[in-house]
């Protein structure tokens, strides 16, 4: 009984159980109300951050080729790494609101073309230098100048001019963008001393931790920065470690045997079983990432909208969520936006599996009946090969022949994705609709992986970008979403949740739709109880 009570108390501490539930269940165990009340109080008090100790994350997505250069950051372990020592101008919090970090506030001109970030004063880098607007400017220059190798180059392109004005950092845009502050939350844009021009992988920033040891592909260790400016909210553990555990079974075993406190990417197949273990819980956060099948709409046979519609009706979305994601996700509607985005229009009708309609559109497309080749690899998204097989079956029922061509994981992103006309892919989602559409659906986007090039769509996107009236913006986004849904080359069966394993002695966990592991901030925002 005591174990049970301890377990329930830990649920309270984690905010997973309310007082009412706790008292009810405690009564069922035969515990008197007085005792139950005091246990509840102790557990709830423990929700205050505990300082000290070591918090350990077991994370997939780390390689011995990783570096601390934020410009080259692309996988989960480096993402968690740079969050330890660095901070951006602003962040997007779990509710989609701006959280001001190196900027104190931001102001836009009336035309949304000039944005002035007021830089926070009295913040020191971990090397002792004081962070200034000049460092911010140099950082942004490093990510946008002509020698830039940065993954953020694409989002920096709309910026016409940047300058320092006293303690302010000023961005001038060619075309209005109401979402500019959200772009500055991009994880590549960690503010570094001198912009990190000399030594980008040094790991010096304004974050709560400094590097203690650094063994890429094995483990990364951090020590608390005693001078951290926001110690009330971040940096509770004295030490923090990120262990590279790429193997899914190794991760769950490490969490179960207590060698780590947190693990990312719990395989949906085992999540239900793992959650039954008494010392931990599985947390699932609805996100914006989506598993997709993409068609190049400028390549036969996908240049016919009837065929695209046929394929969209021929996929069984619910079955995919049930079998591929095991319920850890939600169905998609052939547009890359879901309810996790601000200004989402929930009234757009949901497209469902309809073999009759699929057959009808297939017939109308006049396709010659030869098999349509779909290229997949498990590197596209976990379970992609199985998802393709389900798609093949449901399409077969509508009389549409699909042929699955399995490609190697290795080189999938360079050789198949964005090259072959029909393949499986994955998108991580963005904080706002504008960024998602600009990244992959604008005519000039670098990663326009469906070859969606429509002037009317581009015009709507630009109009929405400069529109400060939210109702009007929402309306434009709704039209854009429906246009993609009905004519685009995107088949979007499901949005995946971020499924993580969290030990019961970890406090401060919140479900964050922006990314895995509380948008990679679990180590710096959670604490470990003794």
């Amino acid at each position: 009984m005591n174990d049970q009570l301890d377990f329930m108390a830990s649920r309270v501490t984690m905010g997973k159980m309310t007082r009412r539930e706790f008292m009810g269940k405690a009564a069922a165990l035969g515990v008197s109300a007085v005792v139950a009340n005091s246990v509840f109080a102790t557990a709830a008090r423990a929700a205050d951050p505990v300082r000290g100790g070591t918090i350990k994350l077991g994370s997939s997505g780390g390689e011995s080729t990783n570096s601390h250069d934020p410009a080259l950051t692309a996988s989960e372990v480096p993402l968690s790494n740079i969050r330890h020592w660095g901070e951006t101008l602003v962040e997007v919090d779990e509710n989609g609101a701006l959280d001001f970090r190196m900027a104190e506030s931001v102001e836009a001109s009336a035309d949304a073309k000039t944005w002035t970030f007021k830089i926070r004063k009295g913040v020191d880098f971990s090397n002792g230098k004081t962070m200034s607007a000049d460092d911010v400017l140099k950082t942004m220059q490093r990510h946008s100048n002509e020698d830039s190798q940065s993954g953020a180059l694409g989002i920096m392109r709309g910026i016409e001019n940047m300058k320092v004005d006293g303690d302010n950092f000023v961005v001038e845009l060619g075309t209005a963008n109401a979402d500019l502050p959200y772009l500055m939350a991009d994880y590549h844009l960690m503010i570094q001393p001198g912009g990190g021009m000399d030594n980008p992988a040094e790991g010096v920033g304004t974050g709560p931790y400094t590097i203690e040891f650094d063994e890429p592909g094995v483990r990364h260790g951090y020590k608390l920065n005693p001078n951290y400016w926001d110690a009330d909210n971040r940096g509770f553990a004295e030490f923090s470690e990120v262990l590279v555990l790429n193997d899914a079974t190794a991760r769950t075993a490490a969490l179960q045997s207590g060698q780590v406190h947190l693990i990312n990417r719990v395989d949906p197949k085992v999540a239900g079983l793992l959650d039954r273990a008494p010392t931990l819980s599985v947390r699932s956060a609805a996100g914006r990432g989506h598993y997709v099948f993409i068609m190049h709409i400028d390549t036969a046979p996908f240049d016919k909208n009837e065929l695209r519609l046929a394929l969209k009706y021929a996929i069984n979305r619910q079955e995919m969520v049930d079998k591929i994601l095991r319920g850890y996700g939600s169905i998609g509607n052939d547009m890359p936006i879901n309810a996790s985005y601000p200004l989402f229009d929930a009234s757009i009708p949901q497209r469902n599996y309809d073999a009759a309609k699929a057959a009808e559109h297939y017939k109308a497309s006049g396709h010659d009946g030869s098999p349509i080749i779909l290229r997949v690899s498990d590197g596209a998204f976990p379970g992609a090969v199985d998802a393709a097989a389900l798609f093949q079956q449901s399409a077969q029922a509508a009389g549409i022949p699909l042929e699955i061509k399995r490609e190697p994981n290795d080189g999938y992103w360079s050789e198949v994705w964005n090259k072959q006309p029909f393949c499986a892919s994955y998108w991580g989602g963005r904080p706002v609709q504008d960024q998602m559409y600009s990244t992959a659906y604008l005519s000039t986007a670098d990663w326009n992986d469906t070859r969606w090039k429509r002037d009317d769509f581009d015009a709507m996107l630009l109009a929405a970008r400069g529109e400060l009236d939210e109702a009007k913006r929402k309306d434009i986004y709704s039209k854009m979403g429906q246009m993609l849904r009905d004519e685009g080359g995107l088949i979007l069966p499901m949005f995946n949740d971020f499924v993580s394993g969290v030990a019961n002695n970890v406090g401060g966990w919140i479900d964050d739709p922006n990314g895995e592991m509380m948008n990679n901030k679990a180590n710096i925002k959670c604490w470990v109880e003794a």
Partner: protein
Amino acid sequence: MHPVLKLVAQRLSLGLLLLFFASILIFAGTTILPGDVAQSILGQSATPEALANLREELGMNDPAITRYFNWLGGVLQGDLGTALTNGRDIAESLGTRFKNTIFLAFWAAVVAVPLAIFLGLLAVRYRDRWPDKLISAVTLASISIPEFLIGYVLMYFVSVKLGWFPSVSMINDTMTLGQKLNAIALPVMVLTLVVLAHMMRMTRAAILNVMQSAYVETAELKGLSGLDVIRKHAFPNAIAPIVNVVMLNLAYLVVGVVVIEVVFVYPGMGQYLVDHVSKRDVPVVQACGLIFAAVYIGLNIIADIVSILSNPRLRHPK
């Protein structure tokens, strides 16, 4: 020159030549893989400008032949260069990984080799009786199960359920020898199970072969006990094939354990190599490839030399 010294010199120079060819093969292999290092580093978020800038900085615009000879020149001067992907000194990061690989291989061998030979001798002694059959059945079963599965099963029972040894075998320089041995206990167990059968069966077969000889019958007739016959007369004559198979397995323990490294998160060379192959980081792949090839060739040379030395007919050629 002494014939044995001459032989060693011959073998060594052949080995060096082989290494040179191996390096060409590795370079060609990694070069013809689809995609290049710049593309792999930037992944899905690569823009054409960023790609061009990165290629320029990494010297990817030089022709492949130039890059190969630049690399070869460096190696001949003892400079393995720096990794393209994260700019680290290859000799330094590889050194740590190599040390770890050797550490694991050494302790696995310390357990597995004597155990295999002892079990082999035991199997011969109780030939066709139940100990022989039991030993064969168990070792053959363990070699037939995929090693990652043995790993997972041991991990579940020994680490998660019983909590005896950690499931994550991450070792580092700040640990004491005892802590390190505790950390690698599970991978050593799995590797032992994997290599046991091959060596045990070969020992058994080699000794049984010798046991058919007339001089063993003589030994038996003069009244030696079963194990004495094996120890004094059969084993010395069976040493060549046994050493051969032991060396093959030692080479496997060094170069072939990437699956075990992944399962137990052991910071050895296997995973290091795989990471760099998938990023097309040619200098690192070359360096790892050379080391693996050198280990393989070196152990085979040792096996050859030992079998020659153990055989008087080969030791004193007419």
